[in-house]
């Protein structure tokens, strides 16, 4: 790897041991993946901020860094393990919460912006087309690459930290034009309409492509930002994809020939393929818990949920997960009250995938519109998942059951 004089000084320890150690992590990674140089960046989104993810090992790793360095560039924080301002009421354990707050303080001390959300693009961190960034959070990575046309690899906690400390990432993978072409062409026959449909399509594609790049062809009506968020989150749960293209819709895919070779065979996504994914996440009977906002809701989603639930009373638990910034706007608009009056909770900073624990609530079944939540719920919390449209999620919350 060719390093600039400044980068070499970082690696030589001129700026201290912690900068040296973190530059070494990036150089090691760059060598493995064949990077020829480092790229200067100005935007990091850090994963590995939930104490459930870091454990004590990661907490100590971050704490050690925080004792001697500051971030060189702006870095936002991903979802944490508690609702920071409301953890006691939600029922998160004090011991975990204290460790979580300690971890947050370490990041804050280094200069992190405590967004605590998986949707930094809804709270003001919107990289521009072609901008090189270092993002973690599997769903946000897909969104940044695919919907915004920014460029990031799948950064884990330690490399996002190193990127924030050094302002660099190794130039490999999705930073390079030649690695951003589609590898699999999916001909979409069964037209997606709802967030659930987009999640199903994303989940199907993730199983198909692994860590490669799917191209969706044949989607007739333009998806919303929220639809694209739902697709990406599911795609990065069943697989390791970091980028998709949608012909005529996403910014790098104006024409089919821009993103895929002419001789690639198409895989069909029809009703059967749709149904096979839905069967994985299906049940009938009592519903204990309903989760909306995985990834965190936009203000539009929370408005729609509020309108659907207004004046009703729910029988299940209901978490509507949002960044604190979106909740603040929802408070102003009266949406939050409509949801809490019905018996739901608006959860900030965290989510059922990354929170401290859900086990003492003893939920056995969960209805959700999120492919990501449906994927992780059985292994993490021993809950059987039911994937439904948002409106059906609300219906099941009100009736306390799903009869099909």
């Amino acid at each position: 790897m060719r390093l600039s004089d400044e980068e070499q000084r970082m690696l030589d320890g001129v700026y201290g041991e912690m900068t040296r150690k973190n530059m070494k992590v990036l150089v090691t990674l760059g060598k493995i993946f064949g990077a020829e140089r480092m790229i200067k960046i100005n935007n990091v989104h850090t994963p590995g901020v939930s104490y459930r993810v870091t454990g004590d090992a990661g907490l100590n790793y971050v704490k050690e860094a925080s004792q001697s360095v500051k971030f060189k560039i702006p870095a936002t924080l991903n979802t944490i393990g508690i609702d920071y301002e409301n953890w006691e009421n939600v029922g998160f354990p004090a011991e975990f919460s204290n460790k979580q707050m300690e971890l947050c303080e370490c990041y804050k001390k280094m200069g992190a912006i405590t967004t605590n959300t998986c949707t930094p693009y809804f709270v003001g961190s919107v990289p521009s087309f072609g901008e090189h960034i270092a993002w973690g959070e599997s769903s946000a990575i897909v969104f940044a690459n695919s919907v915004l046309g920014a460029r990031t690899n799948r950064e884990g906690g330690p490399t996002a930290l190193a990127a924030a400390i050094t302002g660099r990432v190794p130039e490999y993978g999705l930073h390079l034009d030649e690695n951003r072409k589609g590898t699999h062409l999916i001909r979409v026959e069964k037209q997606p309409e709802t967030d659930k449909d987009y999640a199903v399509l994303g989940y199907f594609a993730g199983l198909l492509v692994g860590q490669d790049i799917p191209v969706f062809e044949g989607i007739k009506s333009r998806p919303s930002i929220e639809n694209l968020k739902a697709l990406g989150a599911a795609l990065a749960s069943s697989g390791a994809a970091a980028l998709f293209h949608m012909i005529g819709i996403t910014p790098e895919a104006s024409r089919k020939s821009d993103v895929v070779r002419s001789n690639v065979d198409a895989v069909m996504f029809g009703q059967d393929e749709h149904d096979r994914v839905c069967e994985k996440f299906y049940l009938t009977g009592a519903i204990d818990f309903v989760v909306l906002g995985c990834p965190h809701t936009s203000i539009i989603e929370i408005r729609d949920i509020a309108k659907m639930i207004a004046g009703k009373k729910i029988k299940t638990g209901l978490w509507v997960c949002a960044s604190r910034q979106v909740k603040s706007l929802a408070d102003t608009m009266g949406y939050s009250k409509m949801i809490t009056d019905a018996g739901g909770e608006i959860i900030c900073d965290t989510c059922p995938v990354l929170c401290a624990t859900l086990t003492e609530r003893k939920y056995q079944t969960v209805a959700t519109n999120s492919g990501k939540m449906a994927h992780y719920a059985p292994g993490l919390w021993n809950m059987q998942p039911l994937l439904l449209d948002t409106s059906d999620c609300i219906k099941s919350a009100v009736s306390g059951e799903w009869r099909g």
Partner: protein, 134 residues
């Protein structure tokens, strides 16, 4: 007893040995594995219920959450993680975890040649995997 030698590419240097645990399914250390016990918790995963402690973990590539890097590191620090990793094509999330955990790791290995229960001598520095089958 039969023995064979496979070649791969060094990801993280080091030498280690242990019994192989092999899966054709990708793994996310956030969601597939409990970092406090080392047990596979993802439902319907090919090796659900198996424990990774002290094993050489053989799988195609990582998937899913980027939290997986710290969770692999945590599992190793908790002494319940694998002692080495062999991939078909290393993906960044597990690679980053292995770098900070200093866990010997190789990729570009024909993993279909390794079966669960085989004893594996992994020289990651040289990219050499010696497999002893019972």
């Amino acid at each position: 007893m039969s023995e064979k030698t496979l070649k791969g590419r060094c990801i993280v240097e080091g030498e280690t040995e242990g019994e192989a645990i092999v899966t054709k399914d990708p793994i996310s250390f956030m969601g597939t594995v409990n970092p406090k016990t080392g047990v596979i918790i993802e439902r319907k995963h090919e090796i659900e219920g198996s424990c990774l402690k002290g094993k050489i973990l053989v799988f195609p590539h990582s998937k899913g959450s980027t939290g997986g890097s710290y969770m692999l590191y945590d599992a190793v620090k908790n002494c319940v993680g694998p002692v080495g990793i062999i991939n078909r094509a290393a993906e960044s999330v597990v690679t980053i975890g292995a770098i900070v955990a200093e866990l010997p790791m190789v990729d570009q290995v024909d993993i279909s040649q390794i079966k669960t229960g085989d004893y594996v001598y992994l020289n990651a520095t040289e990219g050499v995997v010696r497999v002893v089958s019972k």
